[in-house]
């Protein structure tokens, strides 16, 4: 097995844990380690206790694990979810001055490193985070110049603060060196690969950059975690990419404004979470009848209602599937990692434009807040084309065509008038209450579903094709299940990961039919994917492994859950 370490940093919000995380992930990533990081945080601006897991390995990793090899608590007040994950193999690097009695009497290896004391003597107590980062850089053999460069970037605008942090970092780095020499550290480090130089991309950036590559030039949102990371990225880069970004008064405005933009030839996206998406439903239905393209990024978090604002869940599949009154075709894309988030967000814009339907990108807090390593993101290889037409005089927006797609004119491109209507309408967009027209138009709109089915993306199948036990999952759970299956090493089991849950790719039917046993692993309490599979294939999953506590599955939890199912037929 590859050498790897799971490092967990934890501390109060507003205390700079995030700064340490960013510094460390970048430093590790630039030193030839394979890295993956993911975090969980409480819904508060200050205080509490949040944690970040950073995995470093000799192989690519992209999943959360329970195991903690090295815990670095920046503050006291460690929460139950962290204590549960500590055992005798865990090493804790902590500052007794800060943690007080918290680790007394526990059978946990603890090395006292006076982060605060070192900071106080060097750059001042507020620089304790830089001390912690520097100690770790030394332990992981990261060149000091890398840390120096990162600190210079982080504090570019405040030279005085930079100076203090650099002083503290130097001292911390020295202390880390001493620990290493004494041999107290004692953790087996993965071997870095000097040629490995990855892109480090979190989910928010992956969705945003994919959207931009897909021609997105219009973004609206009402701030709501975790959907607003995309809003923030787009707003901060609006000038660079010359796009319209507007924080609107509510999600109803967000969706309607985006529909206005598409009608005039822009490519718009609204980004939100479940509550905001629920408010957009009437607008989604408007997209359905008017055939105005629409892209919505839905970053899922636990509901109902406010639920858990900063936590994760996969419980909005059915919300997106049935959103909006009336019947109309739609697409649900469900990326599992940053590469897929990029690729599918790009594709969402092409499909919305080509098929004139709403396209939803379903991510979740876990995916968005995780940092993935990638060799590259192919941007220029991707074709780009608009799918609208020049409107000739006499143009009819809703002309009935063989495949259901009416050539889409936009305002003032050509001399024809583009008339868009939310009522049932005739080919020219006039309000029409004729029953035959109604049937013709409803059939026209729904016939696009066949095109969408033909275009649907196949699931990713990992493992032996002959394996008769098949584990289905969707979205961000995919890489976790993949690693869990790798651990189980059972050749009779294979993974089927769906990066599109609607319409389903036609191979799902045979994947299901050939299986002796189906297990569905997903992050909700009722088995929404399992229900969808039953609805479209007639097959009831034999087992479901569900998680709805607000934190993503760990690799251990899935492998243990699958092992029990495989051994004894357990499962819900």
């Amino acid at each position: 097995m590859a050498n790897e370490l799971s490092i967990v940093l934890c501390g109060a919000a507003g205390q700079g844990v995030q700064t340490v995380e960013v510094l460390l992930v970048k430093a590790l990533g630039s030193s030839g380690y394979h890295v993956f990081s993911t975090k969980e945080s409480m819904s508060r601006v200050r205080g509490g206790n949040n944690s970040t897991e950073i995995r470093i390995s000799e192989v690519h990793r992209e999943a959360f694990v329970d195991r903690i090899d090295l815990l670095v608590p920046i503050n006291g007040g460690i929460r139950k979810n962290i204590w549960k994950r500590l055992d005798r193999s865990t090493l804790v690097l902590g500052d007794r001055e800060e943690l007080k009695e918290e680790f007394e009497g526990r059978e946990i290896r603890f090395i006292d490193v006076p982060f605060l004391g070192i900071a106080r003597e060097a750059g001042g107590p507020v620089t304790a985070n830089s001390v912690a980062a520097a100690v770790m850089c030394a332990l992981f053999g990261i060149d000091f110049t890398i840390l120096e460069t990162l600190l210079k970037e982080r504090f570019a605008k405040t030279p005085e603060i930079l100076e203090k942090n650099l002083l503290s970092a130097e001292k911390g780095y020295e202390r880390g060196g001493i620990l290493l020499e004494k041999g107290e550290f004692g953790l087996k480090l993965p071997k870095p690969d000097p040629r490995w130089s990855p892109l480090l991309v979190d989910g928010h950036k992956a969705v945003s950059l994919g959207a931009l590559a897909g021609g997105c030039n219009f973004v609206t949102a009402y701030p709501m975690s975790p959907g607003s990371g995309v809003l923030a990225f787009m707003a901060q880069n609006a000038s660079r990419f010359e796009i319209v970004v507007e924080q609107v008064e509510d999600e109803i405005s967000a969706v309607n404004m985006v529909l206005g933009a598409w009608s005039a030839g822009g490519r718009g996206m609204a980004t939100t979470s479940g509550g905001g998406f629920a408010l957009m439903e009437e607008g989604i239905s408007l997209s359905g009848v008017t055939e105005i393209p629409l892209v919505i990024h839905l970053g899922q978090r636990p509901g109902p209602a406010t639920g858990m604002a900063t936590r994760t869940e996969q419980a909005d599949l059915e919300l997106a599937l049935y959103a909006g009154h009336g019947e109309f075709p739609r697409v649900l894309l469900t990326p599992g990692n940053a590469a897929e988030a990029f690729e599918l967000s790009r594709l969402a814009f092409d499909w919305a434009d080509r098929f004139q339907v709403p396209v939803f990108i379903l991510t979740d807090e876990y995916l968005l807040d995780s940092i993935f390593e990638l060799e590259s993101l192919e941007v220029e290889k991707a074709d780009f084309s608009h799918h609208f037409v020049e409107a000739e005089p006499g143009y009819a927006r809703y002309r009935v065509t063989e495949n259901g797609v009416s050539p889409r004119g936009i305002f003032r491109h050509g001399n024809g008038l583009v008339r868009i209507d939310s009522h049932e309408h005739d080919e020219k967009g006039h309000i029409e209450e004729d029953f035959e027209v109604r049937e013709r138009m409803q059939k026209k709109r729904m016939s696009k579903l066949r095109l969408l089915e033909e275009a649907a993306l196949p699931p990713t199948v990992k493992g032996k094709p002959g394996a008769r036990t098949r584990v289905f999952c969707w979205g961000s759970t995919g890489p976790i299940v993949a690693e869990a299956l790798e651990r189980l090493g059972n050749e009779e089991v294979c993974l089927v990961h769906l990066k599109q849950v609607y319409p389903l790719h036609n191979s799902i039917q045979s994947l299901v039919d050939e299986a002796h046993r189906i297990i569905v692993v997903e992050g909700n309490s009722t088995g929404q994917l399992a229900r969808l599979i039953r609805l479209y294939t007639g097959r009831n999953a034999e087992h479901r492994l569900l998680n709805f506590r607000g934190h993503q599955f760990s690799v251990e939890e899935v492998s243990e859950g699958l092992r029990k199912i495989l051994e004894g037929g357990e499962g819900k």
Partner: protein, 298 residues
Amino acid sequence: MNPREYDIEPVDLSWCPGCGNFQILSALKEALAELEIPPQDVVLISGIGQAAKTPHFMKGHIIQGLHGRALPVATGVKAANPELTVLAIGGDGDMYGEGGNHLLHTIRRNPDLTNLVHNNMVYGLTKGQASPTSPVGLKTPIQVEGVFSEPLNPVALAISQGASFVARTFSANTELTKEVIKAAILHKGYALVDIFQPCVSFNKVNTYKWFRENTIVMEDSPEKLRDRKRAMELALSGPPFPLGILYRDDSGRPCFEDRLQAYRRSKVPLWKRTPDLAGIAAYIETLREGELKGGRES
């Protein structure tokens, strides 16, 4: 231009005979024709209601969308292509009731569009319920003991929130309505035109006669129109209710589209653009931390 160029092939107008909407439709066509704006340059955006059907009865690009949501749609259209002449049209229930929040924030945003509100103080399409501007005491099938909520004062609201153009007119005064609509279209920024309009079917209080007796056309001049305090006094006065442009900020205040980063380097509308793939690729490369090994310049 002849206003007839805005006529559309015979359609079945669904308004009641004698409805003020006919007068507004004809004033709107005349205003556009006198400004020499061809139908191809105009986008008429509406929500739901009798007034919101107006776009269907004339030439131009149209979006008839959802009840209350014309303003965000119109803002999206204008922001995606600032070259278009954009009008958001609807009634008092549509714009002041269901769409009230959008009204407030469209005023703040100040996109360059014209908002026509056919204000007949009652719901027509849904058959006679009270609207946000119904007078206290108006009896309806729902407000059986008469309306007791205070009517919304749209012009005072708009002026108080910093709208850059606020006017009120009366549908039967087609000349005034036409001139006010022209001025609203020419105004750069958000322009609210509240149009008193009788509902001959459901409002037996605010009739043609009532509006004639309870309104007064104001004399104006650019200096007077710049006076926000005066505008507020006019907006709060009545009966008789002042008609005409009540407030106009002609200081050249930037509108929403002017401030968008999308148009800082180029005014080209979004539909003529393709993504800067090379720029995106270059940005992505900055996410490769390996270059840190060489100690990159920040």
